[in-house]
Amino acid sequence: MTSDNRPLEPTPRRALSFRAIINNAGIGLALLALILFFSLTSEFFLTSNNITNILTQITINLILAVGMTFVILIGGIDLSVGSVMAFAAVVAGKAITLPDMGITELVLLACLAGVMTGLICGLLNGVISAFWGLPSFIITLGMLNIARGAALHVSDAKTIYSFPSAFENFGSALIYGVPVVFLVALLITLIAWFVLNWTVFGRLLYGIGNNEEAVRLAGHQVFWLKVAAFTICGATAGIAAVIYMARLSISSPIAGIGFELNAIAAVIIGGTSLAGGRGSVIGTLLGAFIIGVLANGLILIGLNDFMRQMITGVVIIVAVILDYYRAKYSAS
């Protein structure tokens, strides 16, 4: 019908793809600009030692942020990942220091215990918030306290150490200057990217974030999809716990305080909408890099840690303002 030919105009489509480039490349360009700035202002920044440093520092946050992306994509949030990571680390630490077992068995057992602990915490977050339709903000705030308390209780508030040396070696191993733990984080990112972009499950998570009711009415089991997203987030906290142990050779019940906020920051800087339904795990990867590069570079150019914290805060706010415009333009 003649009155109905709005979409036939060619301009919106071109504008849209142009915007798509800006959206995705914008974060990458910002990262490149940061790298350029710091390499010009600090002679140490681009040294291979420093790059190894940055990659090591990014690892934990990247793993947590990838899991967080799943939860934020469905319009939720998980405030408990830092505490859950500490809890999982303590449980894995207890497992790896069990007497009378072979090293391989111990390491496998510890990995399994750590990941399962995180997974179960995430499962609980998901089941409770999805079953009663409660805001995940509050439920995971509760879990933040539960997991922290559990970590302190299980460990008697003591740091666990003296792990098998093979485990510690894995934590500090390098391949061509790239930390193996970072490669693990990168692998997790790639798997997450595949799941979110190439599976029915991923498609439905995006759908839930955009319009949960439409997904439910289309005959999908929204409850289990949401539970799965939280479970994945919990499991990544468990993986992060194992990596953390391997890297620092200790399991501390007070590890990971505030890590959830860094993970959320990476997700948001990476362009994922806090309202859900929009974003990507590649953005999260870049977001984690921006936070890591900032933290490293600002100290290299002589700013103290307090200044660094302030600037990171500014970056988060700027990222959210940019997201506002992104949402506004994609809506019009």
Binding site: P7, R203, Y206, A214, V215, A331
Partner: protein
């Protein structure tokens, strides 16, 4: 009848009711308001006499609500003239409208649920003591006085609005509007949520207000109320005012005739009946859904190859009925039958696997994922067709979406574009495509052409008729009678959560259906209800 005086005065002056009266307080002439291509108001003219009670009636979408929103300053009008008290009137904000003495009690509640009754009533002018601090005692006293004035003295003004029933909330909303000295009070379907007793009280309140010289505009679906308390009635149809009549000089039949119009008969005649229907595809037996006040529930049958319409007023329980059948909302009692055997659906998923697809009323909230591509929307209800082992097959998805794009004439740049880049009609076709992709045997549609332009409407009718011809059973709810009369083989009429009649195609007349819907002579006609 409360004010025969005005009628007499008008007759004495020998004026036609449409003409401007000497004691006119508000005159609206040729008012127009378009939303995109939708002509919400397309030449509205009427006048209000000081101190009269004036009814506005018309089918859903006839333009009453738009007019009220224009008068209350909620949004501006495109062209035309409004004169209030001899001065031009073009309110740009609700505040300005109130300042000029025009007060509206909206259909949706504007109460603050967690605050007390007193706080709600005096929200616009909180009494303050000389330190500028809220004078709670004075506020409660005033609120109590205003409630006493409308005969609601038994309510404690300190309780929160939340704890009150819906009818009391409506009356409190009215009490609040009476707080300000307004010269025109507009009530938008005030009785929709009231019981008989409260309606009576409302009528007494209206009579009181009239005594004080306030002009009352009364929007309602219930003609008996119009004839009980109003002096004049203005009838709307398709965004136009059709007539203004003195209540004393007209009849309900006359008003209904004006509401319906005549030219619609023609449109109907060139559509054809689909013919005899096959076996029973879908039945409900004593199906009772939430909000249905009646114990007995609803019974009906839909056959394969048949299009059954459900007519009725807003609030008659039509949408709730459909949502119960398709397990979108839970059933209270009774059951649904598919192919003659009882089925129990726990979720929309079960209904879909039983071959039932439900196109909801609200495509933006429930139908589409607006920010996602058209192709993704089309495959949403049948992901199995576009995936293997949980992995997306994007090529298949695109091809399927394209085939629906052609079949349903969806006008889009590419199926990869976001659904919100489409016009209303094309969005609705995407929703249809989504459900057709499940190859349903029973297709249930709630307002299938709301917000859809005329051309796309005709195309959607064609699609639905084809489906029926291919043997699909269709159940359609629509507030537009001409739509149902064009599409359906049979129309069930619902009023107050009951099926009050069934009209076969041969017997379709708008008057007959509307009368049933308005609860006049609600006799069972036909056998198949």
């Amino acid at each position: 009848m409360f004010a025969p005086k005005i009628n007499e005065a008008m007759r004495d002056m020998n004026l036609a009711p449409q003409e401007t009266l000497p004691n006119t307080i508000l005159a609206v002439s040729n008012l127009k308001k378009h939303f995109g291509g939708v002509r919400a108001l397309d030449g509205v003219s009427f006048s209000l006499a000081r101190g009269e009670t004036h009814a506005l009636v018309g089918e859903n979408g006839a333009g009453k609500s738009t007019l009220i929103k224009t008068l209350s300053g909620a949004f501006p009008f495109d062209s035309g003239d409004i004169v209030l008290d001899g001065v031009s009137y073009r309110p740009s904000t609700p505040h300005e409208a109130k300042a000029r003495g025009v007060q509206v009690v909206h259909q949706e509640f504007n109460l603050l649920n967690h605050l007390s009754v007193a706080e709600n009533i005096s929200i616009e002018a909180m009494p303050r003591n000389r330190f500028g601090i809220l004078d709670r005692a004075e506020m409660n006293r005033r609120a109590q006085a205003s409630l006493n004035a409308i005969g609601l003295g038994e309510i404690d003004v300190r309780t929160s609005v939340q704890s009150l029933g819906i009818a009391h909330r409506q009356l409190i909303e009215i009490a609040r509007s009476l707080q300000s000295d307004s010269s025109i009070l507009i009530l938008d379907e005030p009785t929709a949520t009231l019981t008989e007793r409260e309606t009576k009280r409302l009528f007494e309140i209206i009579a009181d207000i009239k005594e004080k010289g306030v002009t009352v505009v009364f929007v309602t679906h219930h003609l008996d109320e119009v004839f009980a308390i109003c002096d004049r009635v203005t009838i709307f149809r398709n965004g136009e005012t059709i007539a203004t009549e003195l209540i004393a000089d007209t009849t309900p039949e006359n008003v209904v005739r004006h509401m319906v119009g005549r030219e619609l008969e023609a449109e109907r005649s060139n559509s054809r009946s689909i013919g005899t229907a096959g076996d029973v595809a879908l039945s409900t037996r004593k199906l009772k859904v939430a909000f249905n006040p009646h114990q007995d529930g609803l019974d009906m049958d839909v056959h394969y190859g048949e299009i059954v319409g459900i007519a009725g007023l807003v609030g008659a329980g039509r949408t709730e009925f459909l949502r119960g059948i398709s397990a979108v909302d839970p059933i209270v009692s009774g059951h649904v039958e598919r192919d003659g055997s009882p089925v129990r659906f726990r979720s929309p998923r079960d209904a879909i696997s039983a071959g039932i697809a439900f196109v909801t009323e609200d495509r933006k909230e429930e139908g589409l994922i607006l920010d996602m591509p058209i192709a993704a929307n089309v495959s949403l209800a049948n992901m199995e067709a576009v995936s293997g082992a949980g992995l997306m097959r994007f090529g298949t998805e695109r091809r399927r979406a394209k085939s629906y794009e052609e079949k349903l004439h969806i006008k889009c740049g590419s199926v990869k574009d976001a659904a919100n880049s489409l016009s209303g009609g094309n969005q609705q076709k995407v929703v249809l495509a989504k459900w057709l992709a499940c190859s349903p045997q029973v297709l249930i549609l709630d307002e299938p052409t709301r917000g859809v332009d005329v051309g796309a409407k005709a195309e959607i009718y064609g699609i639905l008729r084809n489906l029926a011809r291919e043997g699909t059973a269709l159940l359609v709810v629509s507030s537009e009678l001409p739509e149902l009369m064009t599409l359906c083989d049979r129309i069930l009429v619902m009023a107050n959560h009951k099926i009050v009649g069934s009209v076969a195609r041969a017997d379709f007349t708008e008057e007959r259906i509307l009368k049933m819907a308005y609860g006049q002579n609600g006799i069972e006609e036909g056998t198949n209800a």
